[in-house]
């Protein structure tokens, strides 16, 4: 008897008896932990012999704990992972290549787009992450400010030049105490998109993968904007609180900001808190000479190389990625669901909250437009994200010229 063709391959694996326990650790707060608690209960109901020990922790503390657990050879079986952090673990052989599990049908990736799966592989093709929640970036802009100032918004297929021109020309129409742009280093994605859309990779193994001139041009664009007063002043930027809810942008003091699409709910509640009724809209990132440059960070699951209970780890990971009931509980709480069938379902569902819907639609559009996978070296956060953040401030404060900032960036990133 053959299985019907539409049955997921993983069903075969699901039918075998699962037993024992695994530890599962992820980053998140109360809202997400509550949802995962429900998902685990659902999974344990279906597999009475299996236990998932939950180890949630807030984002910053999560990475602190995971690095010590890894050093102490006590990693949980299943861990939350991101492309930016993956190299630090992959380079020490701490994670399992899950391709064999996929080949055996224990994990089903058939509903996840190839580009996301390719982006989850290391240089030598090992599959160390299972992408479950995509967090593409957008230019989020304050539509109310745009209308009040009588501005135009760049149309589809706009370029980096169009974007910088738009910021520059908008400034004179904005009220006092409102700026066109905020901090372009909220996350590394804007610069990654700039590099990608010029046809380069951020890193080529341990060296930077793009020419110095490109970085000078980038710093120059921002220096020019800052000089004409189109960027929030650097002394204010250095005091900006971290959470999206409390950002200057949410307070209505910036026209446009690059933010992860999954920050939409937080931004909306921030706008409401500041007592304004501003409407927020999103734009996909600008295009460069080589077209699309977006890098899509995807929240993923990894299995530790030291994991002793692979059948259970694989079964729970598969459930986390593909199970409709689980997805109905989670509702894309950490990035847009990557399973195409579930994504379509959640977009069509009238119950889906507004903030989540924006995220899902952005992800659908980005997925359609394509993205540029990146492979990062270990220490990416300190060698790229942090250096970028420092150098742009130096440029804004006028203590370094764009050329000097680019030189310093290269020197620090290529140690």
């Amino acid at each position: 008897m053959t299985l019907p063709t539409f049955a997921p391959v993983a069903a075969a694996a699901q039918e075998q008896e699962l037993s024992g326990s695994i530890r599962f650790s992820w980053y998140g707060g109360t809202v997400r932990n509550q949802k995962i608690d429900e998902m685990v209960a659902l999974f344990e109901d279906r597999h009475p012999g299996a236990t998932i020990e939950q180890e949630p922790m807030d984002w910053m503390a999560y990475w602190e704990r995971l690095s010590v657990q890894a050093a102490g050879d006590n990693m949980p079986c299943l861990v939350g992972m991101l492309p930016f952090n993956l190299p630090d673990y992959a380079s020490r052989n701490l994670l399992l290549d899950m391709q064999p599990l996929v080949d055996e049908g224990m994990i089903d990736l058939s509903e996840i787009s190839d580009s996301l799966i390719e982006a989850s592989r290391t240089r030598d093709g090992a599959l160390l992450m299972l992408p479950y929640g995509a967090a593409p970036d957008t230019i989020t802009y304050n539509a109310t400010l745009v209308e009040e100032a009588g501005l135009e918004v760049p149309g589809d297929g706009y370029t980096w030049d169009d974007y910088f021109d738009w910021l520059a020309s908008s400034q004179e129409h904005l009220p006092n105490g409102v700026w066109a742009a905020d901090n372009p280093t909220n996350n590394p994605d804007l610069l990654l998109a700039y590099i990608g859309s010029h046809g380069y990779q951020a890193f080529d193994d341990e060296q930077l993968g793009f020419p110095r001139e490109l970085l000078i041009a980038w710093f120059q664009e921002w220096a020019d904007l800052a000089e004409m007063g189109a960027v929030i002043p650097p002394d204010m930027l250095s005091e900006e609180p971290g959470p999206h809810e409390m950002s200057y942008f949410a307070e209505g003091r910036a026209l446009a900001s690059n933010r992860p699409a999954n920050a939409q709910p937080a931004l909306h509640s921030g706008v409401a808190q500041s007592g304004s009724d501003a409407r927020l809209e999103t734009l996909l990132y600008p295009l460069g000479p080589e077209g699309v440059g977006d890098f899509v960070p995807v929240n993923s699951l990894s299995i530790a190389a030291s994991c002793k209970n692979l059948p259970l780890a694989a079964a729970f990971a598969d459930f986390f990625l593909n199970d409709p009931e689980a997805a109905a509980i989670f509702v894309s709480d950490n990035g847009a669901v990557t399973n195409a069938a579930l994504l379509a379902e959640q977009i069509a569902d009238p119950e889906t909250p507004e903030g989540s819907r924006i995220l899902l639609e952005v992800f659908e559009a980005v997925n359609e437009r394509g993205s540029v996978p990146q492979i990062f070296p270990s220490g990416f956060q300190t060698r790229f994200t942090e250096v970028h953040r420092r150098m742009i401030m130096e440029v804004f404060f006028g203590s370094l010229t764009p050329e000097e900032a680019a030189d310093a960036f290269f020197a620090e990133a290529e140690q």
Binding site: R32, P56, W59, V68, Q69, E245, A266, Q273, N334
Partner: protein, 296 residues
């Protein structure tokens, strides 16, 4: 009567004059201090006010009193996550802090007595080593310590947080007690020795009762540090039902999703209560303990 009034008048006038200038002096002295205290207490009062404001509406507003007071933040925060209420974290934190106090009082006093009153080989070197551990940054020892406790199978238990307290690893308190014991006259020990006491009885009957201020200092600081400790519990406690208050509080913040800032404020206020109570109760002993040991 009139006479009496006449006689007393200059006195009254003098007294009035005197008290006026005293009031002026007191105002000049206390006025600025009160203003300063209000300025210092403002963030604290703001936190208390914000904890009663609906949701996170207080964020970004300056007034202390919310426009509309509600207990929702306390209710939601106390309910916690899943089947684990915030009371669990309080019980865990309280147990860890109290056992830590017992451990530190037990081990640090004995170590301090040995260094202050006994003669043994390498005493000076060992004391110098003990003081050196105060200078050792935490980051250096974190991973080796974790590996040891993991090998002992103690991760995800309270062992790594409590066992060290019974081995006098908090060198600061040992040092504080050594300084204090050195200040107690040797003649008391000698008198006790002539009466036939050994080290044990001298320690328990003579030294410990006289060390009360230093013991209080040790107890209060141990409580504050273990109550506020984040890194230790973060590394060694993995299951949410073992979490302490600081770990519980961090659950309300989510850099990658929605934060429950209102509940964070409410539970932060509650978590400050034991600290404030302890400090109020032990304040007098604390200042004596610190002033007399030179640990400033």
């Amino acid at each position: 009567m009139a006479n009496a009034e006449q006689i007393s008048e200059p006195g009254v006038a003098q007294r009035l004059l005197f008290s006026r200038s005293t009031v002026a002096k007191k105002l000049a002295f206390h006025g600025p201090i009160v203003v300063l205290i209000v300025a210092l207490l403002y963030p604290m009062l703001w936190l208390v006010g914000a904890s009663f404001a609906p949701g996170s509406s207080a964020v970004g507003s300056l007034p202390i009193l919310p426009e509309r007071a509600t207990l929702d933040n306390y209710r939601d925060g106390w309910a916690g996550v899943g089947n684990i209420g915030f009371s669990t974290y309080f019980v865990n934190s309280m147990a860890i802090s109290l056992i830590s106090i017992v451990g530190n009082l037990f081990s640090c006093t004995m170590a301090a007595y040995a260094f202050a009153r006994m003669e043994f080989p390498m005493k000076r070197t060992l004391f110098a080593l003990l003081l050196l551990t105060i200078l050792l940054p935490n980051q250096v020892t974190v991973i080796p310590q974790y590996i040891i406790f993991n090998a002992l199978g103690m991760v995800n238990t309270y062992g790594p947080l409590l066992i060290p307290k019974f081995t006098a690893v908090d060198a600061f308190y040992t040092f504080l007690l050594v300084q204090f014991i050195r200040g107690i006259p040797q003649s008391l020990d000698e008198a006790a020795r002539i009466d036939g006491c050994g080290h044990a009885r001298i320690f328990f009957w003579i030294i410990l009762p006289l060390c009360l201020p230093a013991l209080a200092t040790t107890a209060v600081f141990t409580f504050i540090y273990s109550w506020n400790d984040f890194l230790g519990p973060l590394l060694y406690l993995n299951s949410p039902d073992l979490y302490t208050v600081p770990l519980g509080l961090s659950q309300f913040m989510d850099a990658t999703g929605r934060s429950m800032i209102g509940s964070l404020f409410a539970m932060s206020v509650l978590s400050l209560v034991p600290l404030v109570v302890i400090f109020a109760v032990a304040q007098r002993l604390l200042t004596t303990g610190i002033a007399t040991t030179g640990a400033k």
